[in-house]
Amino acid sequence: MRWALLATLFLPCLWGAPASHVRTILIQGFKFQPDTLTVEFGDTVTWRNADIVPHTVTDGTNAFHSPLIRPNHTWKLVVKKAGTFHYSCTPHPNMMGILVVEKISAREP
């Protein structure tokens, strides 16, 4: 009976909770590369600043807002809200990107 109870705890893991992915956006040449990225709910997005000046990642609806990301530093976001997010760099507002977060039914809360 005890073994049956333990099995019910581990079976969901064996049958695979959906794995989240880590995706990277490079900030280089005053551009977000790629400028449009589609990810899945629960994924982690890392912005890596390869420029010589700091930038931010600021969503237009304030869904997410990084601090100043210094050169050679990164900022990570675990996406927990589905939708299409238009973001930009606060000090350099001509730098724009789009993050599309898709719902995955198996992982919806």
Binding site: I52, V53, H92
Partner: protein, 177 residues
């Protein structure tokens, strides 16, 4: 009286300064010390323009832009000077840097005589013209003629910053029309 800096052939003056490397008939290219001297002069000039704008503008977007020019060009300045020190390249005085500084003194005098919206428009118009000329010079003269690979790489890495600044300045220019 409204004065527009658009009447000044600033971009042409800066462009001519970069092309007038030698007296007529000579065929040389700028040396790496001269290139470093030119970049330092160009950065210094835009930092100076930005500080003037910070002291005069009442427009938040122009203020934020000017602050960014000071911040970003100071960062580039530091990286250029650090690289020069690492490579033991001493920035060399040269006619191009001298011409840039001379033109900048004239432009500063005109900007100081303006205020309010007239100043904001003139400052941003000048930033568009200045960055356009600098981008042209960096891509056509400085990068192709840099001898040291690290100097060339540094100029190549900084070029998008100037383009980003130009894009930002043009965005503001259209808003100030």
């Amino acid at each position: 009286m409204r004065v527009s800096l658009r009447s000044l052939p600033f971009a042409a003056a800066v462009g001519f300064a970069f092309l007038s490397l030698q007296p007529a008939g000579a065929q040389t290219v700028p040396s790496d010390p001269q290139i470093v001297g030119i970049v330092i002069a160009a950065n210094d000039i835009d930092i100076t323009y930005g500080k003037l704008a910070l002291s005069k503008t009442k427009d938040k977007q122009v203020h934020d832009f000017a602050q960014q020019m000071v911040t970003d060009h100071s960062a580039v300045q530091k990286s250029v000077m650090d690289l020069g020190a690492k490579l033991h390249v001493t920035p060399a005085d040269n006619p191009i840097a001298a011409s840039l500084k001379k033109q900048a003194i004239e432009t500063m005098a005109k900007l100081k005589g303006l205020s309010g919206r007239a100043f904001d428009k003139a400052y941003i118009d000048n930033e568009v013209a200045y960055h356009t000329a600098v981008i042209d010079a960096v891509s056509k003269v400085l990068i192709p003629n840099a001898q040291n690979a690290e100097v060339k790489a540094a100029l190549t890495g900084a070029a998008p910053l100037f383009v980003g600044h130009l894009d930002h300045a043009k965005m503001l220019q259209s808003k100030l029309q």
